[in-house]
């Protein structure tokens, strides 16, 4: 057999197929990847260092920029960690509002995923549809929080503004619309034989290694392990809501896509339930003057389920008006480095971007 020459292929940082600003250095033999090394740091902004310079509430402006496609889980996780340190109660209404915001954030992220997953396979029509429809969710956010992408809406002790009844109606209308549209997306994506051929059996995460490698979220559910922070360690009012955590077998791109497809449905259902069950009352347990607000000494760890998997914040206070240390661990931290490096060898070059989208690799979350 003729041994083909090994070529080094730099996928990124400037490459349309890469999911953000990062680089995967590939050793390639023909069309097959032999070795993959992830290089990150192109987006390193020293968030954790900067948060140490800000006071407790100023940190929120930085936090939501941790991972751009999905800023809200970051805010919620940090807020929950601070609440734990400060022993601050959150009114029940605020908890419901938080759940709605979280699920809306999930939905808009799912729509980006639809676009990325289809776009990396060359199905541009779906990407255009779903990113276009995503604007309807961003409109809802805009009305509620004032921001399209970054909201800074969830604060320790509740949320910043109350929701109105008209907003709730709009949410319900949007949910009806999205439910209809999702059928279109699914028809274009899941019913397509070419997509099935591309997705099945590609980018397999082995079941026995999944937890060891730090796989979380949909990729972990894609290997058949039912793991979701919302049921493992219920936060806010998720234990009062009725939803299912879908799983699929196989661990390939197809399984992960199936999981996400079903989660999209569940998110819509959760939002409907939360709007229905939301009680009247206070929405904000006001914190004192943010310039002088001192959080008691201690350490807290909070984690939240985002679209890509669990997000955890380790917050340390030394009893001053600034955080002493904040460490964030996003799902992409392991997906983008360890998992990607482990599963890429043996894959076709054509599938790399496909796999990265399926794992939900989000570079700003890795290097922060």
């Amino acid at each position: 057999m003729i041994r083909e020459k090994e070529t080094t292929l730099y996928l990124g940082p400037q490459h349309p197929g890469i999911t953000g600003n990062m680089m995967v250095k590939l050793k390639v033999q023909g069309d097959t990847v032999v070795k993959a090394t992830t290089h990150v740091g192109y987006l390193h902004r020293a968030f954790e260092k900067l948060i140490e310079q800000r006071n407790w509430l100023n940190a929120f402006t930085l936090l939501c920029r941790f991972c751009v496609p999905e800023p809200d889980p970051m805010e919620l996780t940090y807020a929950r960690a601070v609440e734990e340190l400060d022993n601050r109660e959150v009114p029940e209404r605020a908890q419901y509002i938080r759940v709605i915001v979280m699920e809306l954030a999930r939905l808009q992220s799912f729509m980006l995923w639809y676009a990325g997953q289809a776009g990396s396979a060359g199905l541009y029509t779906l990407g255009q549809w779903s990113v276009g429809d995503r604007n309807y969710i961003l409109d809802l956010f805009e009305e509620l929080t004032g921001g399209r992408i970054y909201h800074m809406y969830i604060w320790p002790g509740g949320v910043r503004r109350d929701v109105t009844d008209t907003w709730k109606d709009k949410v319900l209308k949007t949910m009806d619309y999205l439910e209809k549209r999702q059928d279109d997306y699914n028809q274009l994506m899941f019913d397509n034989t070419i997509f099935q051929k591309r997705a099945k059996g590609v980018g397999i995460v082995p079941k026995d290694k999944a937890i060891e490698w730090g796989v979380v979220g949909p990729p972990l559910r894609g290997v058949g392990i039912k793991s979701d922070v919302r049921i493992d360690e219920p936060y806010e009012v998720y234990d009062k809501l009725d939803f299912e955590v879908p799983t699929a077998e196989g661990g390939d791109i197809w399984a992960r896509a199936l999981v996400r497809k079903e989660e999209f449905r569940q998110s819509i259902s959760i939002i409907r339930q939360a709007i229905e069950k939301m009680p009247k009352g206070d929405y904000y347990n006001k914190v004192p003057n943010p310039m002088k607000w001192v959080v008691p000494e201690g350490q807290a760890w909070a984690k939240t389920e985002s679209v890509r998997g669990e997000i955890g914040f380790y917050v340390v206070s030394n009893g001053t008006n600034k955080p002493y240390r904040v460490h964030a661990k996003g799902a992409a931290y392991t997906h983008g480095v360890t998992v990607l490096e482990k599963i890429l060898p043996g894959q076709n070059i054509a599938d790399i971007s496909f796999i990265m989208n399926s794992l939900g690799v989000c570079p700003p979350e890795i290097e922060r």
Partner: protein, 315 residues
């Protein structure tokens, strides 16, 4: 000498027509694609603006001799092939350099452009280009087989290797080859999906995988020239298909101005309809991997091509 003058004039006219139609079709496809994607879309003449911009862009890169030659090679190949394609059947204004055996000649010449691209891209040194070229050649191996089979079927059926004659036969009998040998036509139609490089066969310049594939290192005038070449090639393929399978266009008995315009209208309608086949297919399909694309062509299209040949032999 008069004849030669007319021929040169016809050649220029043909080139202008091919270029304009090819570019406009591209623009219309962009617009239609945008409409399908819920967008307003660029104006239909956007491709001309792009081309003009590329041509006035400064270019100060050198990738060796073949890097300079590749676009020239492509456009030469495109114009040359165009001159051997009958635009309107037997029309004096669009004389083609038809000769016996030009179908086989065309088969070779149509690869010529891709070859130029391959050599140029190879010299640019970008690995994306190299991979793109190897993919393009593999894909060509895929779709050439059903395409050649369908042509062979036609050649056997009418015992000629001249495009002109094939058109003339269809004109005389009034039966399109698409009807007299449907299997060959279907095989050729499937091959055309690969030829036009829309999804699912856009594996050559797949953006998410290879940046822009073979043309990664070409910008400005080089890219503009390649774009014009590509537009002419699109027109060539469409016209060839129309003349081989869909009865051609134009009436050799009447070459007056009105009849010529009418013939051009028929040609445009037929080519545009044919062009919509790969475009429609592309809107709803993601991209194949290289080996899957080859498998695709080597199954049904090839089988249809073989059936077409058998049909031609025994009919």
């Amino acid at each position: 000498m008069e004849d030669l003058g007319l021929k040169i004039f016809g050649a220029i006219l043909t080139t202008i027509l091919g270029f304009t139609v090819g570019m406009t079709y591209g623009g219309i496809v962009r617009k239609l694609t945008a409409r399908v994607q819920n967008r307003y879309g660029p104006p239909f003449y956007q491709n001309f603006l792009d081309l003009l911009k590329l041509q006035v862009k400064k270019t100060n890169i050198a990738h060796g001799f073949m890097g300079h030659m590749a676009p020239v090679w492509i456009i030469i190949a495109a114009v040359t092939v165009l001159l051997f394609i009958p635009i309107l059947n037997g029309n004096l204004w669009f004389p083609n350099m038809s000769f016996h055996g030009d179908l086989i000649f065309l088969l070779y010449m149509m690869v010529f452009g891709s070859l130029g691209m391959a050599l140029g891209a190879g010299q640019s040194g970008n690995p994306n280009s190299a991979i793109g070229v190897s993919r393009g050649l593999s894909q060509m191996v895929g779709f050439e087989i059903p395409f050649v089979l369908s042509l062979v079927a036609l050649m056997i059926q009418y015992e000629t290797t001249s495009v002109q004659e094939l058109t003339q036969i269809q004109h005389e009998t009034g039966v399109w080859n698409a009807i007299s040998n449907p299997f060959a036509f279907l095989a050729a139609l499937f091959a055309s999906l690969g030829m036009f490089r829309y999804s699912p066969f856009d594996i050559v310049g797949a953006p998410a995988e290879l940046a822009s594939g073979p043309v990664s290192e070409f910008g400005g005038k080089y890219l503009g020239t390649m774009m014009s070449g590509g537009a002419i090639f699109a027109f060539i393929k469409l016209t060839l298909y129309v003349h081989l399978f869909l009865g051609g266009a134009g009436n050799p008995d009447n070459t007056g101005i009105i009849a010529t315009l009418l013939g051009l209208g028929v040609l445009l309608i037929k080519t545009f309809t044919l062009y919509m086949v790969p475009v429609f297919y592309g809107w709803i399909n993601p991209r194949y991997r290289t080996e899957q694309a080859i498998q695709y062509f080597w199954r049904w299209p090839t089988a249809l091509g073989i059936i077409g040949v058998i049909w031609a032999v025994y009919s």
